[in-house]
Structures are given as C-alpha cells and as structure tokens.
C-alpha cells in the first residue's frame, strides 16, 4: 500500500499542516475476513472518502477509523478510497469534502464529532452524495443523504471494569479523564458499576486533566492516583501511552482505551476496549451501493449496542493475570447485554445516594448520551 503524504505549509510559517494520504488501488495483502461480512457486490467505480480530525496513526480514535477504512477497502477491492487526515472541525472540513466530491466521491465518512455541521452543509448542496457522520446526532432536520452512527462505548468499559474489580487489592481504581462530557461520565460510571459488580466496596477516583492529550499532566495525574494507593489505572484520553507506562513502571495494573496496549504493559495489562469499525463501515457502504440508504436506519441517528446487534466497540485481549473465573464473569455480563440488559440496569444511585434508576429500570441510549452525574462510589467532581 503506497502512501503519498502531502504537507501543506500555509501562511507565513507552517500554520497548519494537513497531511493527506491517498491510498491507491493495490489491494491489501491481508487475509480475507472469514466472517459473514458484506462481500462488496457492485461498486465498480465506487469512490469513498474518509475524514479524520487527527493523524491516522494516533494509536487511538483516528487510527481506529482509518483501520475501518482499510476494512472497507478489503470488502470493496475495486473501490477507490480517499483519505484526509488532520481535518480541523472548521469550515476547512467543507473544503476537504468538496475536494473529495470533485475527485468523484460517492460516500463520505466524516469521523469526528465536530465535523457534523460541515458535513450537513455540504450534504445539502450535493444530494447525490451520501454522508455519514460518526458520533453526532442529526436531530430534527433529516436529509435523505445524511446519517449518523455510533457504538455503545460503555458496554466493553463495564466488562473491563469487572476485570479491574476482580484484580484490585486496594479496592481503589484510578480514572484519568479530560472533561465531564456525557460520554466520559457514562464510561466512568460503567467502569465503576462493572467493578462494583465484583465487590460493592470498590471506589473509583476520577481525576480530570482538562485536556485530551497533555502527556505532562497525565504523568502528574497518574502519580497523584498512585499516591492514593490506586492499583488499577484507566483513562479516557486521546493519547494513552503515558498513563500506561506510568502504571507499568509503578507495578500497577492497566485497563486500556482506544487500542490494545498489551505490548506496552506486559505485566500489568488487564484488558481494555477499542473500536472495530470495519463491519459497520462496510455494511453502510453496502447499503448505499444497494441503493437502500434512504430511510434505512443509517439515514438517521443509528446507535448500536449488544442489545441491538454487533457493537463496533469491542473488548481488547486479556493480560496474563486475568483468571478464567473473571473471564467467565465477563462473558456472563456480555451475554446479559445481548439478552437486553444494560450496564446501567437499576438499581443505580448517584454520588449523593439518590436512586437514579430503580431495580428493573434501565436508561435509553438517549438518556445515557445526556448523562451528567457520577454514580455512587466515584470520587470526583463533575463541575
């Protein structure tokens, strides 16, 4: 696979560098996926564009999306894939999308949260091109050529919490996060509830760095948690390596996020959660190729979890210390989600001890996406 990297040095000095890598048509030599994925009929002169907000090899969110695009290429070997990295969440994104359309794009995947309004603007001008956005909510104004999609992030975070809860000796787990946005709060809460399903006395200390990637602050945050006798560290950050290294160096255990970092922490790695977008991306493309996009679930705000199908957010591999007993507990929890339960199935109480969801209740996807509180057992402030 050849990459052409085009560095665009704008203005007086490199004010923005946007690197665009284009993949050519030579197909990957990777093995064909054995699962019952879409086989990519048709799509002879199909062109698909992908926009990423960061570099395609950030060992995180953007890399996962990029790998999803490679899976699409594998499912549709004849399709041309256009790649654009480091696309800011500004009107510049519109310029990139217009450029892709000029290059013949039929489908555009805008993969960052802030790309939505720009994708919607371009979609309104190009009814013949299909736009799908990762993570946003389209809301009321439904265009026939636009949809959003996302997975249920907190399901594997809950099961990773089970692994953490079964492994901790100090009964204190540490969580480094950026901002108390609903998705993060849902993750921290799911992790806590997962751990508490093993031992209700477990506490999770949540420390905010106020940044998605500030390794210096991460190192200090990790240390402040280790100073509190935390023996499992996890995080919701864009660059994850510093915290994993800090835990490993201190002899603590790690639960990963965004990518499998078991190589970085051969001793302390428990498990983690990561994106596996390939099947969902390919299915979306197949739907468009079959001319069935309009009024399909993808033409709205598509959310998928184990309750409703294949969750694109999956659990990472297990580290050496996770016992078979623990793995059985995790399998059991996952099966309960498939059977219709939720990580937030009641009774769930907030930090103040007030019951939020009673026994037998569980929140809808929308309620989870607007979560604004910590559950009981989390030490930290949401404001």
């Amino acid at each position: 696979m050849k990459m052409r990297t085009l560095a665009l040095v704008a203005g007086l000095g490199a004010l923005t560098i946007s690197a665009t890598a284009c993949s050519d048509d030579s197909s990957d030599t990777g093995t064909t996926d054995g699962s019952e994925e879409t086989t990519g009929e048709g799509g002879g002169d199909l062109t698909i564009g992908f926009l990423y907000v960061g570099p395609k090899d950030d060992f995180g969110y953007n890399q996962a999306a990029y790998e999803g695009s490679l899976a699409v290429q594998e499912s549709f070997p004849d399709a041309e894939i256009l790649q654009a990295e480091n696309v800011p969440e500004t009107a510049d994104a519109e310029v990139v999308m217009e450029g892709m359309i000029e290059d013949g794009a039929d489908i555009i995947f805008a993969t960052s949260y802030g790309h939505l309004e720009f994708a919607a603007n371009v979609a309104a001008d190009h009814p013949d091109v299909t736009f799908v956005h990762q993570g946003g909510l389209e809301g009321e104004e439904q265009l026939d050529n636009l949809g959003t999609f996302f997975g249920t992030v907190y399901e594997p975070v809950y099961t990773a919490g089970i692994a953490a809860g079964a492994s901790t000796e100090s009964k204190k787990l540490g969580y480094v996060y950026a901002f108390p946005i609903p998705q993060t709060l849902a993750n921290i809460n799911a992790f806590t509830l997962g751990a508490q399903s093993v031992d209700p006395d477990i506490e999770v200390i949540a420390v905010s760095t106020g940044s998605w990637c500030d390794p210096g602050l991460q190192a200090q945050a990790a240390q402040s948690l280790l100073d509190q006798d935390v023996d499992v560290l996890t995080q919701h950050q864009d660059c994850t390596k510093t915290i994993i290294e800090a835990a490993e160096a201190a002899g603590a255990m790690t639960v990963g996020y965004h990518f499998d970092a078991s190589e970085l922490a051969p001793e302390g790695w428990l498990t983690g959660s990561e994106w596996s977008w390939g099947p969902l991306y390919s299915d979306i493309v197949q739907t468009v190729v079959d001319d069935e996009f309009v009024d399909s679930p993808y033409n709205g705000d598509f959310r998928v979890g184990l309750q409703t199908g294949e969750n694109p957010f999956v659990q990472s591999s297990y580290g050496p210390s996770v016992t078979e007993e623990t793995q059985a507990l995790i399998d059991e929890a996952r099966q309960s989600f498939i059977d219709g339960s939720s990580p937030f199935a009641g009774p769930v109480s907030n930090q103040g001890g007030d019951e939020v969801w009673a026994e037998g209740e569980q929140p809808t996807y929308e309620e989870v996406e607007t979560m604004d509180f910590f559950v009981q057992g989390v030490i930290g402030e949401t404001s």
């Binding site: 490199a14 690197a19 990637c213 602050l217």
Partner: protein, 301 residues
C-alpha cells in the same frame, strides 16, 4: 501530601525550568524568542526518535539539544540578520516546530521509548522528605538543578556573562570594546534554544515516555512568562518553574483526594499562582528587564 506535591513540582518542573533558563539567556542578550515552544517540540521529537533509532537515551538527549538549538538558529538568523520582527518571527518559528514535528513524528506516535531512567542518588535518596523530592529523579533533572547556580555564576562572575549582559543592556559599549553584540546574541539565542530542546527531551523521554503531536501544550510559552516572573534571575526561574509545576501537582493531588473544590478552579490554579505573584511584584520586576528588550520592535542586529 506536601511531600507528594513537592515531588511533583520537581518531577514536572524540569521540563519548564530548562526552557525558562533558555529564554532567560536569550532575553539577557536583548532578544525575545517566542519560539521556545517550537524548540521544545523539536527537542522532544528528536530525543524520542534518536533514542529509538540508536538505542541510546543519551544520544537522544544530545539530539534534543541540537534540534532545539537548530530551530532557535532560524529565529536568530531572521531576527539578527534579516531584521525581522521578533514577536512575529518567534510565533512563526513555534508553528514551524509544531508543523515539522507533527509531520516527522507521525510514525513514532505511541511507539516504545528508550527512556531516560530515574537514578536514585545513593545515600541521599533515602533521606526523609528531601530524598524523594530532590534525589530520586532522572539525570536531566539533576542537570537542570546544577544548571541554575552554574548559569547564575556565569552571568555575574564571568567575562562571557558580562558580554551577555552588555549585549542586552548597552550593546554600543560592547561594540566599543571590539565585541560584536550580534555574535553574542546569536550564541545566546541558539544556546537558549538548546536548553529548550533539553526541556522537550526530558518531557518526552524521561517524564512522560511518550511522543504525541503538540505534546508540550504551551509549556514553552509558560517559560517565557516565567522569565519575567523571575526578573531574569536564574535562581528565581527555579522558584517559578517549581511553583508552577507544584500548583499542577497540588490541583491533581486535591482531585485524587476527593476535594470538593471546583475542578475548573483547580485547573486554573497554576496560572492563578503565577498571575498573582506577577501582579504583586511586577513594578520592581520590570526594572530588572534588559534595556534592549524595550526595543524589540526595532532591529536587533
């Protein structure tokens, strides 16, 4: 808790102290370099890459020094030879560093690191309080601690220091004695960039063991502010860097202990500490500014 905050102040302060000292030398010669952030990033990436490619963290440190100095040389050339505006050039140099490191760093994001390991100083490290705070760090932290008195001595006690100060205060006098102020300023800007590069190298290979795009997140600019806080005195630069980093450690320790103080207030704490100290000291500090800094909008050559 006090011990933990002090350990954090020193551990996290090194990557701020180096660029602060670097900028201090630069400004003492009469030049402002806002490219400190860029030099830090170049130093961080160069140290990371060379460490991985050669397997030697020390070659990485040298590479970080050279890369930081190299970027500062661009600033020196534009400002001292081409008479470019110092403020604008410094910012452009920072963005250049940001862009270049983002480009060349792509393949190294998340890669394993050849880390500069901490070295506990035998005997001293086991002392209560002082041991963990001062004597259980990576070698670059010790180097930064030694650099402070060394730099102070150079400034006040040596001919080179006198020339440096003269370049910043009375360049015409320096010229009378047959020394080119421009040559002194070149040396100061490039040397200062080298120190910023060391700060970046410490951040990437010792403190965080990570490379990611833009990972300095403003530490280079904090350093420029701390030079004023320090009134161009290396000893006070040490205080400033540790105060700033200590405030970061304090706010994270408070969070980890479940303090119910607002997260947002805590996050602003390091900046508040510096702003309050600046405001209460500023009049006197400004008198300490090298004379030539009053003319940064004119030619510096």
């Amino acid at each position: 808790m006090i011990e933990a905050v002090c350990v954090g102040a020193v551990a996290g302060g090194t990557s701020i102290l180096f660029p602060t000292l670097g900028e201090l030398i630069t400004e003492r010669s009469g030049v402002i370099n806002l490219g400190t952030e860029g030099s830090m990033l170049c130093g961080a990436l160069a140290a990371y890459i060379i460490g991985i490619e050669t397997g030697s963290p020390w070659l990485g440190v040298v590479a970080g020094l050279v890369a930081g100095a190299g970027l500062a040389a661009v600033h020196a050339f534009l400002v001292l030879h081409r008479g470019a505006n110092q403020i604008a050039t410094g910012l452009v140099v920072t963005f250049l560093g940001l862009g270049l490191t983002a480009l060349f760093g792509q393949d190294y994001v998340g890669q394993g690191v050849v880390a500069l390991e901490p070295v506990a100083i035998p005997g001293l490290a086991s002392l209560p309080f002082v041991g963990p705070v001062l004597f259980d760090h990576d070698p670059l932290t010790y180097l930064s601690l030694l650099a402070v008195p060394a730099l102070w001595w150079v400034l006040v006690g040596t001919r080179a220091g006198l020339q440096l100060r003269a370049a910043g205060e009375r360049p015409e006098v320096l010229r009378t004695f047959g020394t080119s102020p421009r040559a002194v300023r070149y040396a100061a800007v490039i040397g200062g960039g080298g120190l910023s590069g060391l700060g970046g190298a410490q951040l990437a290979t010792a403190f965080t063991r990570n490379w990611s795009e833009g990972m300095t997140v403003g530490r280079g600019f904090v350093a420029v502010g701390l030079v004023i806080f320090a009134a161009w005195d290396p000893r006070k630069a040490l205080v400033g860097a540790y105060l700033f980093s200590g405030a970061i450690a304090l706010q994270l320790q408070l969070q980890a202990q479940g303090s119910d103080i607002s997260r947002y207030l805590l996050a602003a704490l390091p900046y508040l500490v510096v702003i309050i100290s600046l405001a209460s000291l500023s009049r006197r500090r400004l008198h300490a500014a090298p004379e030539a800094l009053n003319h940064v909008f004119e030619h510096a050559s």
